[in-house]
Symmetry: C2
Subunit: 206 residues, 2 copies
Amino acid sequence: MVMILKVLCLFFSFFLFLCSEYCIVEVHGRILSITSKPDPDDASATARWLVSLNSWGVLNTISNDLGGAPFGNVVSFSDGLPNEGIGIPYFYLTTLDPTARNALQDERASLTVGEYALGTCGQKDPENPTCSKITLTGKLKMLDEKSSNEGKFARNALFSKHPEMKGWPKGHNFQVFKLEIEDIFLIDWYGGPKPLTVEQYLQQKM
Amino acid sequence: MVMILKVLCLFFSFFLFLCSEYCIVEVHGRILSITSKPDPDDASATARWLVSLNSWGVLNTISNDLGGAPFGNVVSFSDGLPNEGIGIPYFYLTTLDPTARNALQDERASLTVGEYALGTCGQKDPENPTCSKITLTGKLKMLDEKSSNEGKFARNALFSKHPEMKGWPKGHNFQVFKLEIEDIFLIDWYGGPKPLTVEQYLQQKM
């Protein structure tokens, strides 16, 4: 019985592969229509593609509770309405969780996302350099989501991609945060990180 | 044409869902047979399940080049031969990459992995606490893969789950590293992190 199911899975995986060739990708039960992966030579387009298409990543802060260790945490994020990303990642965090508490003590942070999570790396190993990955390093700052325009934008960006957030407990006091990007580390091919300035990244048209 | 493919994708996704109900999950083209997800009340079993089934995560180090910022990087890892994980994550890193260079200057590190990457969270948001996630914090240390028994074990653990590594360029001088775990942060349900000691985690039978 299990063997038959394995064969069926392989068969259907092949069809999903065909689907992805037509710019549709199945990500854990959600069907996303995506623009094609940019050419690896186009660093800014690849970087923005990675950030706009991923809905989650690992947000890293400095943990005073753990002797100043770098502490990564799985979080959801959004850089804008679907297909209208601006490249700046926004988060919905509560100080019940260490990441927000860490950031309020020390703003230094990074967000790491990988192409592997999108399901577009085929049979490549997750650490294969042609399976692209990006780390945005900067400062993690709380926004005023009611009085600032950016706060309102961030809230809409988050709730449009993560509708579940609207129903998260009011008593947990979730707040909108942004990562102010200061450095970009992008690997999308052999030969080491691609040179990419924050300005080039933010100015990239999508 | 695209519409037809979308319908086909939905159809096949449904079959993949059926497959996963029978403890087989399709992870980006690889078929893994998995044990069922442990009960969330069983913190040590859930933690070991997360670490043994994930093949990649985000490894965080302190970046002196970036003003001491926490720097996350997508990496492959392994905690043992398939279905024989021991809970300690091993990595295959080169000092051409900042993560290994950072660790040789400052061993403080963490590895973060999430259930979302396994495709077993269904329609839950990646930040939903019932979609489990773990961060192992400790010291990232280079092993001697030729003369130490642990180094040889780590090499076999890595190459069995990541066969592509065997062919990575000799000139890049990849080395085996381990994370010596000192603290465990596990979220697998509502109500905050689960209390879990390193001893409980390592002693868990799989």
